[in-house]
């Protein structure tokens, strides 16, 4: 069976499941961000006094940090009140960072688990071989009350990655390439398994970027196998036994794509869809006004390290604002202690607090009509980051930094 089939079979108490089949599965963990305020209201309206299992519930504030409006502050109040009322001890407040990063850093997600979150990028946990995906507040209310939800067992597609990425390309270039090559729908309703020598070589933060953006390919789940890197990552973060889940050829895939990363150029997704991807050379010289390094896609320590390495001794173009948003307190602290933030600050970067920032368009760096932003985030939809007359270009941390220095979209290999 594929990883999705193995996990859904286990969670629904069956020996075997097949694609297309409907199952009711027991959920291992759930994550709710500010959407918990609405879940709380729903639970109260439905007369639910006790939730299924407070220990399996994680509430994390990350979307409006610090509160961007009086309304957002009221949402935070509701979240705190709800957590108290339902005895949820696993609550991470304003100072911890982006929910997905925090869930993984704190060892709250384990390989083989079935995890749901009130956020589409919950699929990120597949970097740790968990079956994870986003749901809305009504379904989350149902899960809080019952611990169960229906699923259709997905088909699986495999991406076998071979070859070597040239410096300073990263996994972001790879996932953008896959979106551009195979479309934003290639994995619609499906589960993705990444394998092959180049996938094995990717470090955890690179894998997280790949699984994070799998939802932009339509995916329900997205997986890397458990290997030494997974075990190393979880060391010190959890005492639980780690199941060594590996993607294998025994499970049938409906499609397999072999993709060689040799000679890959840095990739950029143009406005206004994630699969509108071209090599950076086609956009060289496009004037930008903002460069954003951060988010659950690319706000990790490795991303900040690469950015600092590229920008050291140089400065941000005077007509560009470089926003840097570490994905979590852990990332922030490490980057502070090892001098990374000082390099970015001295180069002209503006360091913001961990959180979602302007990625989804609520606050902290929104765009004016006519402005262009190059961003390491995950979506470039019309109006995503402020004005619907602004444009967002998605790229790797290296391309974001090269462009911030040049004042226009630039190839990081030229630096």
């Amino acid at each position: 069976m594929t990883l999705a089939e193995r996990i859904l079979a286990r969670a629904s108490g069956r020996k075997k499941v097949s694609p297309g089949e409907y199952v009711t599965a027991e959920i291992d963990k759930v994550m709710a961000h500010e959407a918990f305020a609405a879940v709380y209201m729903n639970l109260a309206a439905a007369g639910i006094r006790k939730i299924w299992d407070p220990d399996r519930v994680f509430v994390i504030l990350d979307h409006y940090i610090p509160a961007s409006t009086p309304r957002a502050a009221s949402i935070h109040q509701l979240v705190r009140a709800g957590a108290k009322q339902y005895g949820i001890m696993n609550i991470y407040r304003e100072n911890e960072g982006i929910a997905h990063q925090v869930m993984m850093e704190k060892g709250n997600v384990l390989p083989g688990e079935l995890v749901l979150g009130t956020d589409s990028h919950t699929c990120t946990y597949g970097a740790l071989a968990a079956a994870s995906c986003g749901i809305g507040i009504s379904e989350m209310t149902y899960v809080f009350a019952t611990g169960r939800l229906w699923f259709q067992v997905p088909e699986t597609i495999r991406f076998i990655l071979t070859g070597e990425l040239a410096f300073p390309l990263t996994s972001k270039d790879v996932i953008l390439k896959l979106a551009g090559e195979y479309s934003a729908e290639v994995a619609q309703y499906k589960s993705i398994e990444f394998s092959g020598p180049a996938a094995e070589k990717m470090d955890m933060s690179s894998r997280m970027t790949m699984t994070n953006m799998s939802v932009e390919l339509g995916a329900k789940f997205s997986f890397f196998s458990v290997d030494e890197k997974t075990v190393d990552y979880l060391k010190g973060r959890t005492d639980s036994r780690i199941s060594l889940l590996e993607s294998d050829d025994k499970g049938s895939a409906c499609q397999t794509y072999e993709v060689c990363l040799d000679d890959l150029e840095p990739q950029v997704a143009k406005p206004h869809s994630v699969d509108n991807v071209v090599p950076v050379s086609e956009l060289k010289g496009t004037v930008i006004h903002q460069a954003l390094l951060g988010s659950c896609t690319n706000g990790r320590l490795d991303d900040l390290h690469l950015a600092a390495e590229l920008i050291k001794g140089k400065t941000v173009h005077p007509d560009v604002r470089l926003l840097v948003i570490p994905a979590s307190k852990e990332v922030y602290r490490s980057a502070l202690e090892d001098g990374t933030l000082a390099v970015l600050l001295d180069a002209g970067g503006l360091i913001l607090n961990p959180g979602c920032g302007p990625c989804f368009g609520a606050h902290m760096g929104l765009l004016a009509p006519g402005e262009k932003c190059i961003s390491s985030t995950n979506r470039n939809f019309k109006g995503r980051m402020g004005s619907d007359q602004a444009e967002v270009f998605l790229a790797s941390p290296a391309t974001v930094i090269a462009s911030a220095i040049q004042g226009c979209i630039a190839d990081p290999r030229d630096m």
């Binding site: 409907y22 609405a38 729903n42 309206a45 439905a46 007369g47 639910i48 409006y64 409006t69 309304r71 957002a72 949402i75 009130t118 956020d119 589409s120 919950t122 995906c133 986003g134 749901i135 809305g136 507040i137 009504s138 379904e139 209310t141 149902y142 009350a145 019952t146 229906w150 259709q152 934003a184 729908e185 619609q188 309703y189 939802v215 932009e216 339509g218 329900k220 869809s273 989804f360 368009g361 609520a362 929104l366 979506r379 939809f381 019309k382 109006g383 995503r384 402020g386 619907d388």
Partner: protein, 163 residues
């Protein structure tokens, strides 16, 4: 379930959740979101949509965020049903979960123009263009999905189970 009948609003491929409900209005009460629904791609929608209207769209409708405000706003504004060539899965699940009828149909876009009249039979998975007198077979929903839609959403199941 009786067929859903209404006038058609056509949309293209990859209509995302941010154009349905832009991020800057996410924390607003749903009625305050209404004027901004599809604001950047079809400003007439919010002004002219009426109860029972039907959306006919291309591929990957509702791609992007898990924000349930997107299907909720459409439902509360009167949309009776959405037929798309395909749906992004989270939007699809959310729509079912709030009792907003959704069904996919491979070539539905080519069979409708704006303002045509449609009749959608969910249980039989048939899409009829009553203006042009054509009928197309859609992809049937599972019994579980039909049951949730018929009950008006998954929260009603929860309330029933409690009683």
């Amino acid at each position: 379930m009786d067929p859903f009948k209404g006038d058609v609003w056509k949309f293209g491929d990859n209509v995302d959740t941010d154009v349905i409900v832009p991020g800057q209005y996410l924390d607003a009460p749903i009625t305050e979101i209404f004027p901004h629904v599809f604001e950047s791609i079809n400003p007439a929608f919010a002004k002219e949509v009426k109860k029972g209207d039907i959306i006919v769209a291309g591929k990957n409708f509702g791609c992007g965020s898990s924000r349930e405000n997107a299907p909720s706003a459409l439902k509360e504004m009167g949309i009776g049903c959405i037929v798309a060539e395909s749906f992004a899965r989270i939007f699809f699940r959310n729509a079912v979960a709030i009792g907003l009828p959704v069904i996919s149909c491979g070539d539905v876009s080519s069979r409708f123009q704006d303002h045509d009249h449609a009749s959608v039979n969910l249980s039989k998975a048939l899409i009829e263009n009553t203006t042009r007198k054509t009928v197309t077979a859609a992809n049937p929903l599972s019994e579980e999905m039909l049951r949730i839609i018929e009950k008006g959403g998954i929260l009603n199941l929860l309330k029933e189970a409690k009683e």
